[in-house]
Symmetry: C2
Subunit: 243 residues, 2 copies
DNA sequence: CGTGTTTTTGAGCCGTGTCAACGATAGTGG
DNA sequence: CCACTATCGTTGACACGGCTCAAAAACACG
């Protein structure tokens, strides 16, 4: 089975792969695991001995705060390895759950290490993947901090749109089937459910972006990215051009 | 000169070093560079060909938003390499400035690469350093997001205190000479100058923590960490015990 | 001692949160 | 196929946390 395909696509999009490295990645033993919405793949505090590549669906990572609130720190699309960091940072400081029906591919740490020791290029590419992860975190700090609700929300939508497009998840008409509830968006942006709703309404009435029947559609990229103060460079995608 | 010392201490504290690796790190050519407060080491958009280890003083990383606001994404103490990620992510998505008088040690990327290719263990340790950086980002997302002003501020103070202690920067009486202005704290927490001031006042009157004449003093660790919902595990310091 | 920076405080406003209810949508079982 | 139920989205009213404006007090340093 071509389980590796999404991973290869992702690695290709953030740095490129030699034929040899491609074949090497294909030697990774990948155990598929099916997840229903809300299923936990990892809990805060776990010490996994494998990492998971998202094969289909969308996952989220979040911390649970003492008062029960959730802070989402990342959404993860196919091809990404949300817990790659567990290779060298054993204890999970957040949980990893499926947002949609999803399939992940479990890759034992030992095998990842073997592959990386065989190819330093590949090691650097995996490292780079975790560094891009961190670059996204930095933007999210700003989303939750100095950017206001409107700008932060717009920024997140810009980001998701580009990432979805990079893996070919957009429909022919340019819309993206958006699996996130407004509650989940709010937990990512530090906003209440009610306020996220009003913010999305504002973006819709501005003709910037709209979520209609579960499909995110950018109505005016220039306007949306202007509101967001969005610069796609931090995603480090090879084709970072505009929609 | 023992310029490497802070770096060795840092690497030691996050993972440990064999004698061979220690000697290897000591072969890194380190060019010292002195910085005055407010001096930029790197600007957003730069593509550095070396990374800098903080030798003394404190640096900050921040993004400049379109409206001129600043979002601080990190404070960096001696031993840390704030721009290590520039090894594999060329373009800086934020600026790096000195907060205090500071000395950094410039290490060419080529030399870092050479050292890492010689010792895979060391490579993993450097990688781990960037992963801890990312773990801190995740907490800062929560500081700026779901945690309120009081809790977020308390969390940041807890973190700084532990990191300062880990490098022996605390005075005998347990206080830490705090080089950050309230404006800078606000830029890290997404709070206005006025509100950070009021928040610090609240922590002081709670007998949790106080900044007096430029010295941060934790008055009651249990109370402060309770307010913060602080769990030191994410810093991955070998001796993560409480003050 | 003067000048610039940082801290502190007050007053009033606005963005965002909370509470509460209703509407829309989708899946479920009779 | 149609209630039935659960989840999600939408809207209004009101409260509150945090922001802005403005000015004074406390430092820091030459």
């Amino acid at each position: 089975m071509a389980f590796v395909e999404p991973l290869l696509t992702r690695l290709e999009s953030i740095g490129g792969l030699s034929d040899a490295d491609r074949r090497l990645v294909e030697t990774l033993p990948i155990t598929p695991k099916r997840l229903a919405p809300q299923d936990y793949l990892l809990h805060q505090g776990d010490r996994p001995s494998s990492s998971a590549v998202v094969l289909s669906g969308v996952l989220a990572r979040f911390q649970e705060l003492p008062d029960g609130d959730r802070q989402v720190v990342s959404f993860n699309l196919p091809g990404e390895i949300p817990d790659l960091h567990s290779l060298f940072i054993r204890r999970m400081d957040h949980s990893l759950v499926a947002i949609t029906e999803a399939v992940v591919g479990l890759m034992p740490h030992d095998d990842i290490q073997r592959v990386m020791e065989t190819s330093p290029t590949l090691m650097k590419l995996f490292w780079r993947e975790t560094l891009i992860d961190a670059a996204v975190f930095r933007q999210w700090i700003a989303n939750n901090g100095r950017r206001g609700a409107l700008s932060g929300t717009a920024h997140l939508l810009c980001e998701l749109m580009l990432r979805a497009r990079a893996i070919g998840a957009l429909r022919p008409d340019g819309g993206w089937p958006m699996p996130l509830t407004q509650q989940q968006l709010g937990d990512a942006l530090g906003l209440s459910l009610v306020h996220i709703n009003r913010t999305l309404k504002a973006l819709r009435e501005d003709n910037a972006a709209a979520i209609e029947r579960g499909v995110l559609r950018v109505l005016d990229w220039d306007k949306l990215s202007k509101i967001a103060g969005f610069d796609p460079a931090y995603l480090h995608l090879k084709q970072a051009a505009v929609a």
